[in-house]
């Protein structure tokens, strides 16, 4: 009689592998679906537009559109003449955020580019980042845990984790109201341009500014959303003339993102060399 354990073992041995053709088909369709999943908001807007047009009041409004079309250029002129944004609004809006997410590209001193994703929370005193997780596309991971007072730096090339006592990697100053207050004070050149970001479908103000203080040369392009007043994209150069590749380009900045439990913990995998320093 064949024991049940043998049958279980047999079932556990079932192992199918996907074919190259299947992998290709799934990846193509899956990534297309992911790319298209950004579009529903536009479609939804169109749908709402159509629904509204069907109602009698919308038909009346449509007639009024002709009048509005004439007034609109004047409104745009008025809009550009009177700034819809002031840095003080951003300073007010950005206070109170307890976490930030960013993704983009950073450049090291040798000009090597690293695509990164970044999650961080401010330190208790609010001066710089405390808990932090940064991952690059190349597999490098940096995790800072403020409570445990430890920094992990994982180098996949050498399969090594450096465990460093204290917070040895951080963003300073923390992007808060004080950061923008100081930036406005220190920057000698400050240009604001109002335009619509067609890609994101948002009205924005683009601030181009540079700090020519001796020993503190930076230049910035910040894109602020006119509705939320918050910076949603940024480029920072470590010179005051916008020369060369930006030191940091953040294509996406989110505030109070969802932080999975344990995101600021680091698990050391088996077989990885650990160096304490």
């Amino acid at each position: 009689m064949r024991p049940a354990e043998n049958i279980k073992r047999l079932i556990q041995n079932l192992s199918d592998k996907t074919s190259v053709q299947m992998d290709q088909r799934v990846r193509e369709d899956m990534l297309r679906a992911l790319a298209e999943s950004e579009k529903p908001s536009v479609l939804m807007r169109l749908k709402i537009g159509r629904t509204i047009m069907k109602s009698p009041i919308a038909k009346l409004a449509a007639a009024a559109m002709i009048a509005i079309a004439i007034v609109l250029p004047l409104a745009i002129l008025n809009y550009t003449a009177t700034p819809a944004w002031a840095i003080e609004q951003t300073i007010e809006a950005i206070e109170g955020f307890h976490a930030i997410y960013g993704s983009g590209v950073t450049v090291d001193e040798n000009g090597n580019e690293y695509e990164f994703e970044y999650w961080a929370r401010p330190r208790k005193d609010g001066t710089a980042s405390g808990d932090l997780r940064m991952e690059t596309k190349g597999g490098q991971v940096i995790v800072v845990n403020e409570q445990k007072n430890v920094t992990y730096k994982y180098d996949p090339g050498h399969s090594t984790v450096y465990v460093e006592s204290g917070i040895t990697f951080y963003s300073s100053p923390w992007i808060n109201g004080e950061y923008f207050r100081k930036m406005k004070e220190d920057c000698t050149d400050w240009h604001e341009e109002y335009r619509r970001d067609e890609l994101m479908g948002r009205d924005c103000v683009f601030v181009r500014a540079s700090d020519r203080d001796p020993g503190n040369n930076w230049s910035y392009v910040f894109q602020f959303d006119l509705e939320t007043k918050l910076p949603i994209r940024l480029k920072v150069w470590n010179n005051s003339d916008f020369k060369g590749k930006p030191y940091v380009t953040a294509d996406k900045v989110l505030y109070n993102p969802e932080l999975p439990e344990g995101i600021f913990d680091f698990t050391i995998l088996e077989g990885v060399q650990v160096i304490n320093r």
Partner: protein, 180 residues
């Protein structure tokens, strides 16, 4: 678990690498289960394909409440059940042309395992679908009875029963084959 949460979070931001990583991580596991449920390679591949495409489509709104692995298994299982129902409606006969792939170490062992797994596959087709699902999800899918109960919409004791009957039936079918 944390890695999965991070991957899901990245997918919500439209990260293609994270989506591919999830596929790489679970594709073979899900294909094995799908094929176990249905027997047919092509159908199993279609199910895994559809599950990942649907996941990608909803990734930006997706909120992970349990484990990602559990979620994907549930999706595969639901779709497999739909296929079985459709098959029953069409009264299509199952055909068996290729055996399960086996994990083997040498040619003789490989041949023996393929033979054994072919018998297993044949036997599995002869047990009721709910029992087959319970056995596969518990033994190969490493799911708890509680999780399977939730998925099948029945009590834990019913799942226990289905599992026990399924395993007994498999044993009896395989032993009768050996005797012949």
């Amino acid at each position: 678990m944390l890695e999965d949460k991070l991957l899901v979070l990245k997918c919500r931001h439209g990260n293609k690498d994270a989506m591919c990583r999830i596929y790489e991580k679970y594709k073979d596991y899900l294909l094995t289960l799908a094929r176990g449920f249905l027997g047919e390679q092509a159908e199993a591949e279609d199910i895994v394909h559809d599950v990942f495409v649907a996941f990608a489509r909803s990734a930006r709104q997706f909120r992970l409440t349990g484990s990602l692995k559990g979620y994907l298994v549930t999706c595969v299982s639901n779709r497999a059940r739909d296929r079985i129902r459709a098959r029953m409606r069409q009264a299509e006969a199952l055909d068996s042309t290729s055996p399960f792939a086996a994990v083997s170490r040498n040619p003789e062992q490989h041949a023996a395992e393929v033979e054994e797994l072919t018998r297993l596959r044949r036997a599995m087709r002869q047990i009721p679908y709910e029992q087959r699902e319970a056995v596969l999800l518990h033994v190969r899918g490493e799911m708890r009875f509680r999780e399977i109960a939730k998925l099948q919409g029945v009590s834990v004791s019913t799942v226990h029963g289905r599992y026990r009957y399924g395993l007994d039936k498999l044993r009896s079918l395989l032993n009768s084959e050996v005797k012949q």
